[in-house]
C-alpha cells in the first residue's frame, strides 16, 4: 500500500472520484495548471482538462455561487477556497444559499458540494493565513463540517463528502499537510461522516481534538502517561453533526474532559462541545470541563506558537482536570 501524506491522500481521493464520476468537477483559484498553492489538485488539470478543473477569476463568491448552480443542476462540484481566511467574500453564498437551498425549496433542490479549504495556524501565516472559522459554519443550519487529522481519514471522508447529498465544509489542517505519511489505499474507500474515533483509550480524562491539534493532544496524553494519568483521546473527524455518542460514552467513563481547538475561545466550537457535555453528562462530571483554545485576539505572526493551544498548554490542563478535587 502506498505511503501518502495529507496532500497526497486528498489528491488521490479527488482523482479517483473524478475518474469514477464525470459529474465531479473542481474549481477555484489556482487549482488548475499549477495544481493549487498547496499542490493538492496537482495533476488533475492534466488528467481531466480545464473543463473539470477550472481556474476561476479571483472571487470566492463566484466560486461558491457557480458551484451551487452546478450542484443544483446535478453535478458534484468540489470548490476550493485557497485559505479558509478568504472564505468570507463567499460567506453570503454559503450561509444564505448553499446551507438553505434544500430546506427553502422544500427538498426540491439539493446542494451537494464539498467546499475544501486549508485551515489553521502554525505556518507563519499571520492574521489571514491561519484562522479556523469552523464554528461559524456549525452555527449555520444545513452544513456538515469535516476536519480530518490524517491521510487515511482524509481520503475516506472526502470520498464520503463528495457522495453526500448535503453540502460539506471540508477543512484541511494545513500545518500537517506534509507532516504525517501513512499507508493509504490507492483504491477508493469511504469513512462515515458523523463518526469520531477514539485514537487512544484512557480512564482518567477525555481530551477532544481534531485537525492539527489532535497530534498535540496525543503528545500531551503520552506525556502525562508518564505521570500515571491515562488520557482518552478523541479525534472528532466530523465536527458537525458531531458524534455525540462517542463523546458521552467517554466522558461518562472519565468524568473529566478537556477540549482543544485553535479558534478563539469565545463562541468557538469548544463552547458547544462543553455545553453538550454538561447537558448530557452533568451528573457524571467530576471536574469542570476545560477549554484549551486560541486566545480571543486576531491570529498573530511572531508569537503564533504562544497563541496556539499546543502540547505545553494541553498537558497542564489535562493534569489539572484529571487531578481536580472539588
Amino acid at each position: 500500500m502506498p505511503q501518502m501524506n495529507l496532500v497526497q491522500a486528498i489528491n488521490s481521493a479527488l482523482a479517483s472520484e473524478m475518474r469514477a464520476d464525470p459529474d465531479v468537477v473542481v474549481l477555484g483559484e489556482d487549482v488548475g495548471k499549477v495544481g493549487g498553492v498547496f499542490r493538492v489538485t496537482q495533476g488533475l488539470y492534466d488528467e481531466f482538462g480545464e473543463d473539470r478543473v477550472i481556474d476561476t477569476p479571483l472571487a470566492e463568491g463566484g466560486i461558491i455561487g457557480a458551484a451551487l448552480g452546478m450542484a443544483l443542476y446535478g453535478l458534484r462540484p468540489v470548490p476550493e477556497i485557497q485559505f479558509s481566511d478568504f472564505i468570507f467574500p463567499a460567506f453570503d453564498q454559503i450561509v444564505s444559499e448553499v446551507a438553505k437551498y434544500r430546506y427553502r425549496s422544500g427538498g426540491e433542490y439539493t446542494a451537494p458540494m464539498v467546499i475544501r479549504t486549508p485551515v489553521g495556524g502554525g505556518i507563519r501565516g499571520g492574521h489571514y493565513h491561519s484562522q479556523s472559522p469552523e464554528s461559524l459554519f456549525i452555527h449555520t443550519a444545513g452544513l456538515k463540517v469535516v476536519c480530518p487529522s490524517n491521510p487515511y481519514d482524509a481520503k475516506g471522508l472526502l470520498l464520503s463528502a463528495i457522495r453526500d447529498d448535503d453540502p460539506v465544509m471540508f477543512f484541511e489542517p494545513k500545518r500537517v499537510y506534509r507532516a504525517v505519511k501513512m499507508e493509504v489505499p490507492e483504491e477508493e474507500y469511504t469513512l462515515p461522516i458523523g463518526k469520531a474515533k477514539v485514537v487512544r483509550e484512557g480512564e482518567d480524562v477525555t481530551v477532544i481534538a481534531w485537525g492539527a491539534m489532535l497530534f498535540e493532544a496525543l503528545a500531551s496524553a503520552e506525556e502525562i502517561g508518564g505521570e500515571g494519568v491515562r488520557a482518552e483521546v478523541i479525534d472528532l473527524r466530523t465536527l458537525w453533526p458531531v458524534d455525540i455518542d462517542t463523546i458521552v460514552e467517554s466522558v461518562k467513563k472519565t468524568g473529566r474532559v478537556v477540549i482543544v481547538h485553535e479558534a478563539p475561545k469565545a463562541c468557538g466550537f469548544g463552547a458547544e462541545l462543553l455545553s453538550m457535555v454538561v447537558e448530557k453528562c452533568f451528573v457524571h462530571l467530576e471536574a469542570p470541563p476545560v477549554r484549551v483554545t486560541g486566545w480571543d485576539t486576531p491570529f498573530p505572526y511572531t508569537l503564533e506558537m504562544e497563541y496556539l493551544p499546543l502540547q505545553h498548554r494541553i498537558t497542564p490542563a489535562l493534569l489539572e482536570t484529571a487531578r481536580y478535587v472539588p
Binding site: 476561476t56 472571487a59 455561487g65 443542476y73 446535478g74 434544500r102 427553502r104 422544500g106 433542490y109 444545513g142
Partner: protein, 377 residues
C-alpha cells in the same frame, strides 16, 4: 486615453428612440422593422398572461391589506418585461427568479393553487411554509428557488448554465434581478464568471427605476445599466420593457445566439415599478405622483390591448370575461388555500439535511412534546 462609451440617456417608452428596441407604437400599430411577427394566438396568449398576472397581483395586495396573507411583492407595471422574457425562453431553458416573477412561473404551467398555497404557507405549500410568501420554487418547471438576499441567484445561474453545457445539453439560463441588484457583489461576479466561461446566460435586468426608495441614478453613475456589460466583455442590450413584443423579440434573439455559442448577454429592460416595493412599502414617502402617472400612460397591458383592439382581436367584453375567469379560478384557490392546515410541526426539521441527524431528532421530539405557544403570532 479615456475609454469611450456611447451615451444613451434613460428613456421611457414615451420618448423612445435609438438604442432601445420597441415594437408597439403609441397608436397600437407595430413597428414592422422590429415586430417579431408572432402568430396571433401567441400574441393573445402573451396578453392574457399579463392580464392574469395583474388580476392576481391586485387580489393579493387586497388579501394582504385584509390581513389574510402576510406579505406580497408584486409586478404591477412590470408584466411585459416579466412575461415577455419568460415566454421567450425555450421550454428546456432555465429561469432563475428574483422575487417579482410569479407570473413567469405561472406562465410555465405552475398551478395557481400551488402558488396560493405558497402565499399562505400552508401544509400544501411547496416549501412547507418555511419561506415568506412569494418565495416559491419550481424545479419541474426549470425554475429556481426565490431567495431574499439580493443578487445571490446571479452567480448560481452561471453555474447552472455552465453545468448544462458541460453535460452537452442545449439549455440557456435566464436570471432576473432589479437594477438595484447591479450594485451587488453577485452581479459583478456572476457577469465576470459568465464572460470568462462564455456561459449561456441571459442576464435580465428589470430596470424599474427604484430599489425600494433609492432611485436608479443614486444606484450607479453609469449612464445605462446595459453598458455595465462592457466590464465583462458581455454585450449589453436595452429594450422597452413595457412592450411585451419587444421584450420577447430581444430576449429570444439573445437566447438563440447564446445557445449557438455566443456566450452571455445582459439585457436592460426599461420599465417602472408602479406600486410600492412590496405590501410593506408606501412609495408616497419618497417619490412624486407625477412620475408614476407618466409611467402609467405607458402601461404595458393597455398598450398591448390597444394593439389587439386595433387588430380586431380583442374587445371589452372578452377582456371582462377573461378577467372574470381568472378571478373565479383565483377565488377558488384562495378559499382552498385558506382552508388548509398549517404544515405539520415535524416538517420544520426535515430538509435541513437529507436525513435528520441526532440533534434534530432530539429537537423535534422536544418540540412535539410541547408545550404549544400561547399565540399564533
Amino acid at each position: 486615453m479615456q475609454t469611450e462609451h456611447q451615451v444613451v440617456p434613460i428613456r421611457t417608452p414615451d420618448n423612445d428612440s435609438d438604442g432601445v428596441t420597441s415594437v408597439i407604437r403609441p397608436d397600437g400599430s407595430l413597428n414592422p422593422e422590429t415586430d417579431p411577427k408572432l402568430p396571433l394566438e401567441t400574441v393573445l396568449d402573451l396578453y392574457r398572461s399579463m392580464v392574469r398576472t395583474r388580476v392576481i397581483d391586485t387580489q393579493l395586495v387586497r388579501l394582504q391589506r385584509q390581513g389574510r396573507i402576510g406579505f406580497h411583492i408584486g409586478s404591477l407595471g412590470e408584466e411585459a418585461c416579466i412575461l415577455g422574457s419568460a415566454a421567450a425562453m425555450r421550454p428546456n431553458d432555465w429561469i432563475m427568479p428574483c422575487y417579482r416573477e410569479f407570473g413567469a412561473l405561472l406562465y410555465r404551467g405552475f398551478p395557481l393553487q400551488a402558488y396560493l398555497d405558497n402565499m399562505y404557507g400552508n401544509a400544501d405549500d411547496i416549501v412547507m411554509g418555511r419561506q415568506m410568501p412569494d418565495h416559491y420554487t419550481g424545479k419541474a418547471y426549470r425554475f429556481g428557488s426565490v431567495s431574499s438576499p439580493i443578487g445571490t441567484q446571479i452567480t448560481q445561474a452561471v453555474g447552472i448554465a455552465w453545468a448544462a453545457r458541460y453535460k452537452g445539453n442545449d439549455e440557456v439560463v435566464s436570471v432576473y434581478f432589479g437594477e438595484g441588484a447591479t450594485s451587488s457583489n453577485e452581479f459583478h461576479t456572476g457577469l465576470n464568471f459568465a464572460g470568462v466561461m462564455k456561459a449561456p446566460v441571459i442576464f435580465l435586468c428589470r430596470n424599474n427605476r427604484w430599489a425600494i426608495s433609492v432611485p436608479s441614478e443614486k444606484q450607479t453613475a453609469s449612464v445605462t445599466f446595459a453598458e455595465k456589460g462592457v466590464a465583462y466583455g458581455i454585450p449589453g442590450v436595452r429594450v422597452d420593457g413595457n412592450d411585451i413584443l419587444a421584450t420577447w423579440k430581444v430576449v429570444r434573439e439573445c437566447v438563440e445566439k447564446s445557445a449557438a455559442g455566443a456566450g452571455p448577454f445582459l439585457i436592460e429592460m426599461l420599465t417602472y415599478r408602479v406600486g410600492g416595493h412590496s405590501t410593506s412599502d408606501d412609495p408616497r414617502a419618497y417619490r412624486v405622483q407625477d412620475e408614476v402617472e407618466q409611467w402609467r400612460r405607458t402601461d404595458p397591458i393597455q398598450r398591448m390591448r390597444t394593439h389587439l383592439e386595433g387588430r380586431g382581436a380583442w374587445d371589452e367584453a372578452r377582456d371582462e370575461a377573461y378577467k372574470q375567469e381568472v378571478e373565479t379560478e383565483l377565488k377558488a384557490c384562495i378559499t382552498a388555500a385558506e382552508n388548509k392546515p398549517k404544515p405539520e410541526l415535524g416538517t420544520m426539521f426535515d430538509d435541513v439535511f437529507q436525513h435528520r441527524p441526532w440533534h434534530l431528532e432530539e429537537q423535534c421530539e422536544a418540540l412535539l412534546a410541547g408545550p404549544r405557544p400561547k399565540s399564533e403570532h
